[in-house]
Subunit: 241 residues, 2 copies
């Protein structure tokens, strides 16, 4: 994936791609705005339309921008349907999706644990915001979620309005200028403990699906560590290969 070697040759379209990406990251083109047309950009950078096009196509396949024929190219947001479902793999048994409804149980600021600091690449005991919530699918509590972000990167997140939006990533993007661009998930099977017993109404020790996700921004820096525990009687984690 990463070339630590000096590439000794770097295609023009990749340089253009980087230039465009840096303008997006810098806030020059905020999420949701239309960027200049292909021909305008190709003139600005002094390259052919085809080369600029390849750069934009690359960004589109990375979900950084979305192209609409006849309209233009827009910087991706987290309220686009496609973007919403990029990070939510829990579906009904037949593969259809449904929107979860969230209820926040805990919101606090505290020092990071060693594991959290390491994962989020923070100083030891740096301040983090910790949120715990239950998410319902089809009206049934299905998920117990713990999530942790850097308090420095998301200042006063714990003081946000009582009703956090369902899609936290939208909040990260709009309030803090941090777009979740990619994530890694590790899945485990674990036994339900007292918290899950209480919140999800499952038996102590019954099997749950644990999803540990590290969400990253456009530059690849870790933004959020999220641990979800999910009951899989009515839903499952769906993945296409």
């Amino acid at each position: 994936m990463n070339d630590s070697q000096t590439p000794s040759y770097r295609p023009l379209y990749q340089q253009i791609k980087e230039a465009l990406l840096s303008r997006i990251v810098s806030g020059d083109w905020p999420p949701g705005t239309f960027i200049p047309s292909e021909s305008a950009l190709s003139q600005e950078y002094g390259v052919s339309v085809g080369t600029l096009r390849k750069a934009l196509d690359d960004l589109a396949s990375d979900h950084v921008v979305i192209r609409y024929q006849g309209k233009g190219t827009v910087v991706a947001t987290h309220d686009n349907d496609r973007s919403l479902f990029q990070f939510f793999h829990l579906t009904r048994l037949d593969g259809t999706r449904s929107m979860p409804i969230s209820r926040v149980l805990l919101r606090q600021s505290r020092p990071a644990t060693v594991e959290e600091a390491e994962t989020l690449e923070l100083e030891v005991e740096a301040e983090v915001v910790h949120i715990r919530r239950v998410r319902e699918l089809e009206g049934v509590p299905a998920l117990l979620e713990e999530l942790v972000v850097s308090a420095a990167r998301f200042p006063a997140l714990e003081k946000e309005p009582e009703t956090l939006p369902n899609t936290l990533y939208q909040l990260y993007q709009q309030r803090f200028g941090q777009s979740v661009a990619k994530a890694e998930e590790r899945l485990f099977a674990v036994a339900a403990g007292p918290p899950e017993q209480k919140q999800l109404g499952v038996a102590l020790g019954s099997p749950l699906l644990e999803i540990r996700r590290v969400a990253r921004n456009l530059q690849g820096e870790p933004l959020e560590l999220r641990i979800s525990r999910c009951e899989t009687q009515h839903h499952c984690y769906f993945n296409e290969l």
Copy 2:
């Protein structure tokens, strides 16, 4: 994904892509062979190199062919490293992969259950081959796998040499001309039963990760139903979003 609408307009490169795909499916170009060069194919089909190139790039991103600069374009096989790992998402906790070692416990031909017939799109009680095996990771039994395929599509599979290869998909491809091109996986958390207790050495009722996979060929027809139950103390299911 699917256009059930009459498209009323179909880009040339998509038609070319289909034509190339049909030649691969038909066995005209078997897996592992190099197909003609871009310029040769563009002449044959009477289109520009750019158009033919776009068709090939599409097939490459579908993992149907693999392109090597300076060498040529080869029909994908299941012994390429990349193809091997497309369907195997179990990794060590740090995300690194290791090759599993398989031991077959059972191999029999029998009528399909209702669920199997439905999933594999077979007549009720059509004959299927059923294989059960244990797979070891790092020398520790980690997976108990049940898999079922159509006996008509894989004739005499149950009489294959005693030592089935580790990568069954390679066997499907080489012996039966069936390439697994894509798959859907559904993940659940389940409690270990007596078989898992015996084969994996885990406690009765301990949580296991269940992976239900339907593997499909290039045409999208279901080839194999596979149910794996996995212990997640030393390994996990890894997914990048």
